[in-house]
Subunit: 207 residues, 4 copies
């Protein structure tokens, strides 16, 4: 009986993590997909009708890559998570909240051809999402201890800190020249496109 209960709680603890992952995947999958609804079908059928959609298409592609990066990193992070608690759940929902505003700022920036305020708003949402991700990471490490696999894998988190600095810089710079901010957003995307080698190396080492 005691053995059965222990096996049961272990199994459900595993399911619990799985349900959080599945929920997050669901929200990110929906976000990445409903963004395309902002690409309104144009009235005309000639090339001139597609022209105004170009900035929106580029913003859509950028946001798609960002959400893909978050999904990828989320995936990698929870790969080395064994169990979760209520605080981790809420830190995760907090991250999803800021990510859920991506379609809104994508549409606003894209439809207005990278005007200053929408460009700054895009950076603000991205900064808040990055901060939320850092909080989630810290919450998990606090739950598992600094010597846990995630704690060891993350270390100084240079990429995370650098991204936050670049977003913070892009917000005021959008009012100087919006292309500086756009260049910074693309730079952050490029920094993250490669999955975190620290965690990958750790997983490979364990095998």
């Amino acid at each position: 009986m005691a053995v059965n209960t222990r096996r049961y709680t272990r199994a459900t603890a595993f399911v619990t993590k799985g349900r959080l992952e599945a929920f997050s995947d669901g929200v990110i999958a929906i976000l990445i997909t409903i963004m395309v609804l902002e690409l309104h079908v144009p009235r005309g059928t000639d090339m001139a009708a597609l022209g105004p959609l170009l900035p929106l298409f580029l913003t859509y592609a950028l946001s798609f890559v960002y959400l893909g990066i978050y999904w990828n990193n989320h995936h990698h992070m929870f790969h080395v998570v064994d169990s979760i608690n209520g605080k981790i759940m809420w830190a995760n929902l907090h991250l999803l909240f800021w990510l859920s505003l991506t379609p809104f700022v994508t549409g606003w920036m894209g439809e207005n051809h990278f005007a200053p305020l929408p460009t700054a708003a895009y950076g603000a949402v991205m900064l808040l999402a990055a901060i939320a991700y850092t909080i989630l990471q810290a919450t998990i490490i606090r739950h598992q201890g600094p010597h846990s696999r995630l704690g060891a894998a993350v270390g100084g988190d240079v990429k995370g800190k650098l991204s936050a600095v670049l977003y913070a810089a892009a917000i005021p710079l959008a009012f100087v020249d919006e292309w500086i901010s756009d260049a910074l957003y693309v730079t952050v995307a490029l920094i993250w496109l490669v999955p975190d080698p620290r965690i990958e190396a750790r997983i490979a080492a364990e095998r």
Copy 2:
């Protein structure tokens, strides 16, 4: 053969619960995400264009938290559920029905700057969702017996009853002063933000 069949039915009973959880997670994930479609991209690109969106943004944040609480509590409740039946399935769909009206009342209340009737409608949908949750809980306990883990964990359900009372009060009070109702909605959210310690304690005790 007999052993194999028994193992199979056990496995599928587990999958059955998993499929109900996955379906509920899917619906809640979609609801929490399509709500953002009510935040229509503004025409202008200055601060004045964002102003009218503020009440909608606040309502969106409140509804996001509410749906997060439902997901969290749903998660906790099914953590201690072993098997389900047809009645539990329909009680669960009944809960999802009222939750599915959240984007509608969120948009109506937010776009109309917390006017009395939309504010009362918001409370009515929340009250009906709270009642549906209570029915679902009671249906599960009836299926498992009052001495089941969920029955013992829920007990008097003070928080559930208090929330229903506050929602019921908020509906008429919206016609006196809508800010009283809004304050009540925020109060209910704060009451629930912490995951149910009764169930958490039970899970910890079993480990």
Copy 3:
């Protein structure tokens, strides 16, 4: 080695069925949720603004119940399915195609206060979905043999045939009096609200 491979293919066959179930659940969960987007947020904030929404709300509730029934029955049917093949996959996608038109006919019937043609169109989509469900069921039984658990559980399928007859009758009757058709739609929903006792009894017997 041989044992490992056999174990692997068995595990993936199980996953394969799981992936079809998860995909179907995903589509049904999205359909049941995006239908609420047809409930457009009204401009006004008084009772008069809600009036025109009443038929749409009732249609939404009816379609919600229908999709819930399909999810429930789909769930029950695949409960007794052991493996799937390509034909079952396409029969399943065929069912999802007709179900995916539910939000469209729901919006058309609801916005036009149950006018004859939209009411008939609603019945036509429901009839085609019912036929698709019967085809899916027959495809699974052909794959598993008539003496399989599903074959034995389904039997003469009186409820399935009765539903198709009622839908087929409701289509022309919508041009006589649309309320006859609406009454038939509600009748079919009531027939199915109880999960199939034949399959439930079989599952209980096996335990």
Copy 4:
């Protein structure tokens, strides 16, 4: 301890593949469903109101079948995949990106009654999705080696190459006569409707 860790990493590697599949299923399920939102509910309630919807309905059905084919082939391909890496993840997201534009080109082509440019755009998105699928397939085979189960099952990939050629031909031909392109799109769909017998045969052989 060493045994436990090995078992754990194997289990998570399996989950990792499962999470990629679940995410892809989620995105495809959402795409296949939100496409129906392009079928705007008509104002009128007579047959004349449905007329303009016919080309949109046919395009919707075609895109539904295409996405069904992608889901089906994706399913079959990952059936014989044992583990994934970062490159496979990004190759998969790249495929999902082009698929995510399906609702946009479906709406544009359908609403404009198969006008030349929208018809060519539909083919361009389909060609890019087909190329992305080929890249994903090649990335998996490179990861697993040419003698892997997928490498042996895919072989020369005649159907994949033929589809790309037909899409590439359909793009310029849309400006000659759009019906040629439409006929080519239907042809590609018919080629793929049957699930890949090479992989099915291999799975059957292993059993």
